[in-house]
């Protein structure tokens, strides 16, 4: 069965494979399988030449890696992903917002890891447009979360103007 993700508000097939380092692997030595890969930033830095030989590639950031760590390389990627080892670790929200608003990333921005329904609304607001929902969860149910709120106060990636600049009395 093909893997599915939520992308642009729909459930779609996904061809990308996320590479995670297993115990004993190092960024330099990990063997990269064929196909479209989303690799850890450290692997990209260590195996840049190999990856440049692929038709397309993706990279993922861990919570302690910053948007600026990947900023100069963004042009090489088709997908940038941010990992949430635990959904309650909110660093990825700032990283996403910065990738979009400060570093000009317009391609796919995917949330991976502990990605759950009840965080999707916020994730969407800070610029994520693709979600690899945790495997044990119902993706259709998660999709509904994108409509949890009909109105919001803040300026964010999905709505560049705060409500106070849009409010008509």
């Amino acid at each position: 069965m093909a893997k599915k993700i939520i992308k642009h508000g729909r459930i779609v097939d996904d061809s990308w494979q996320v590479i995670r380092l297993a115990e004993g692997d190092t960024p330099e030595t990990v063997v990269l399988p064929e196909g479209d890969l989303i690799v850890p930033l450290k692997v990209w830095k260590a195996q840049r030449q190999t990856l440049l030989g692929r038709p397309q590639r993706g990279v993922w950031l861990s919570p302690d890696e910053l948007a600026e760590d990947v900023a100069i390389d963004l042009t090489y990627f088709s997908v940038v992903a941010i990992d949430f080892p635990q959904f309650a670790d909110g660093r990825g929200y700032s990283t996403a917002a910065l990738l979009r608003s400060r570093y000009g990333w317009h391609g796919e921005l995917r949330a991976i890891g502990d990605v759950l329904r009840d965080q999707l609304f916020y994730m969407n607001r800070v610029g994520f447009d693709a979600y690899a929902i945790r495997a044990d969860k119902d993706m259709n149910n998660a999709l509904e979360a994108l409509n949890d709120f009909s109105e919001t106060y803040q300026a964010a990636v999905d709505e560049p103007l705060p409500l106070f600049r849009r409010r008509s009395a």
């Binding site: 929200y93 608003s101 919001t152 106060y153 964010a156």
Partner: protein, 559 residues
């Protein structure tokens, strides 16, 4: 006060729907306890020792009588007929059932209330001066700024999963009644030499396990930049605050680790991008918000001093109440009044359904239908005509709301402690009660004068014991409840964290300890005018310590 328009209402209504769905999924088993936990916390719902506790937001302490009556009804219908005013101006229900919470939220939303972000690792309810808008010593009304911050922080998508909770306080008066120096961010509204309004921004203060007085990160931030600057502070904190140890996760630890200069540099580097962007506040918006905080229809009245009013009635109890519970108002002929929730027969800050209804009636009758909650866990009627004070006092007294001890030893600030809170090391309410029973002589209390006594049941310091002139902290020693006592703490612009006097005490010893501290003070004070805390700072902790431990040493030597 601020009234919702259809945008605000839609956001709160959507929240009710969202939380109803989350609760159903939790009860139905598709949302795990671990996944539900931060969601319910961001809705003010704790699972406590005996039952859930629901913390309802009272933004910067403002309530209408319509809202208070609704709270009264909710407390009767879903709880045991009372609520508890917290030290952050919110209202807590101690016994609601989880399954009822969505319905409670729906009933709150009908009166423009909610429980959004009253707990959890997010930006919490903004607090402010309970005399905002009426105090003679304020530069401007801080509440419009609080409301602007409330809207900005409500469901902020980037800052919903911070390393730890985040508290903001706003003060605009000479006397800091909002405790801006012990908040994650404190904002003092100030005017620069050109006469324009801005904020002194203080960052990294806080109580809890590691009490720290905050430091100034920006001496004058023009008001237009308020939101963009705070976003930069929050972003630096969100990205770099510690997440490996929850006791080191508050922003104060980050500021301390980096040093204020480096922290400022990082904030300003981020701000360079956001400054002058879409978050720049507009006059239109500030004016729109200010429209909600216009002055009530004050009458032109002849002013009378409280001394004169006291002399008319010549009633000792009334005079005492005037002395303690009535406060200055910027408009001649008006006063602000504290309705005390420190009746010794109840836990500090508790208020019954009947009292809520009564207070609502009083506020309608005497104070333009509005009231405030205070972080000292009392209520305020802000706009009472002085000529009505006697009538108000009689009604309040008949309903146990006129304990004339505001600011005195028995006006104790006390967290829920071991009777309710699952984090507690020790009970706090019985300690408060024992002290109130010991000091039940009103003449003696008035002679002792101003004294803040704060009690927390554990290091989390919800009772703000560090800034109490006398602070009592529940500690755990080999599984039994002990109490550590500190003195000399104070809140305000010269905030000071109290010094621990020595080894901790058993619960039964506490009233004696307080008595000895007070006796020492009475002996050593230079005059009746010198307050307890000033005596402590003048003569130091040693004389107090000697007195308190003198007997103990003998016992130890004899034993």
């Amino acid at each position: 006060m601020y009234r919702y328009d259809h945008y605000d209402q839609a956001i709160v209504d959507d929240r009710v729907k969202q939380f109803r769905d989350q609760t159903n999924r939790y009860l139905g088993g598709t949302l795990s306890e671990e996944e539900f936990r931060p969601l319910r916390l961001q809705n003010g719902l704790y699972i406590q020792r005996y039952a859930p506790m629901l913390r309802i937001a009272i933004p910067y302490g403002m309530l209408s009588t319509k809202q208070l009556r609704r709270l009264a009804d909710i407390a009767a219908k879903y709880d045991r007929g009372y609520g508890h005013i917290s030290t952050r101006q919110n209202l807590q229900l101690n016994w609601p059932e989880l399954k009822d919470v969505p319905q409670i939220l729906a009933e709150l939303a009908e009166v423009e209330m909610h429980a959004i972000q009253t707990s959890g690792n997010c930006i919490r309810n903004v607090t402010s001066d309970h005399f905002a808008g009426v105090s003679p010593d304020e530069l401007t009304d801080p509440r419009p700024w609080c409301e602007i911050l409330r809207q900005w922080s409500t469901f902020h998508p980037e800052f919903a999963y911070l390393p730890r909770k985040f508290k903001i306080a706003v003060n605009a008066a000479d006397t800091d009644r909002a405790a801006t120096r012990v908040h994650d961010i404190g904002l003092d509204v100030v005017k620069n030499s050109q006469g324009s309004i801005g904020f002194r921004v203080i960052v990294g203060g806080g109580l809890g396990r590691t009490p720290i007085v905050g430091q100034v990160i920006n001496e004058f931030l023009p008001w237009t930049h308020l939101l963009s600057y705070l976003e930069s502070i929050l972003r630096v904190y969100n990205l770099h605050g510690r997440r490996d140890n929850k006791y080191k996760a508050r922003i104060k630890i980050l500021v301390k680790a980096l040093g204020i200069e480096e922290f400022r540099r990082q904030v300003e580097a981020d701000w360079a991008y956001g400054k002058d962007g879409a978050l720049t506040l507009t006059e239109t918006e500030v004016d729109r918000i200010k429209q909600h905080f216009t002055d009530p229809a004050w009458k032109t009245l002849v002013d009378e001093s409280l001394v004169t009013i006291a002399s008319y009635h010549n009633d000792r109890a009334f005079t005492r109440w005037l002395d303690r519970n009535v406060h200055p108002h910027k408009v001649p002929g008006y006063a602000a009044v504290t309705l005390s929730l420190k009746d010794p027969k109840r836990a500090p800050g508790d208020i019954t359904t009947e009292q809520m209804h009564l207070v609502a009636d009083l506020a309608d009758k005497y104070s333009f239908g509005e009231l405030r909650t205070t972080h000292e866990q009392n209520l305020i009627l802000a706009d009472v005509e002085k000529s009505e004070l006697f009538a108000l006092w009689q009604e309040a007294r008949a309903n146990s709301l006129a304990t004339p001890t505001v600011g005195l030893l028995t006006d104790i600030i006390c967290c829920p402690g071991g009777d309710f809170c699952s984090l507690a090391n020790a009970k706090s309410i019985p300690i408060a009660t024992a002290i109130q029973e010991r000091f039940d002589d009103l003449d003696y209390l008035h002679d002792i004068g101003e004294l803040d006594l704060n009690i927390s049941g554990c290091m989390n310091a919800c009772g703000h014991h560090h800034v109490g002139n006398i602070g009592i902290l529940g500690v755990d020693k080999n599984g039994s409840e002990w109490y550590q006592v500190s003195i000399g703490g104070r809140q305000g612009l010269n905030a000071y964290l109290g010094d621990v006097i020595g080894p901790s005490f058993a619960a039964a010893e506490i009233p004696d300890v307080i008595t000895k501290l007070i006796e020492t003070y009475i002996e050593k004070r230079e005059s009746d005018e010198e307050r307890f805390v000033d005596t402590v700072h003048r003569i130091g902790v040693a004389p107090f310590k000697e007195r308190v431990y003198a007997g103990k040493e003998r016992v130890a030597l004899n034993g």
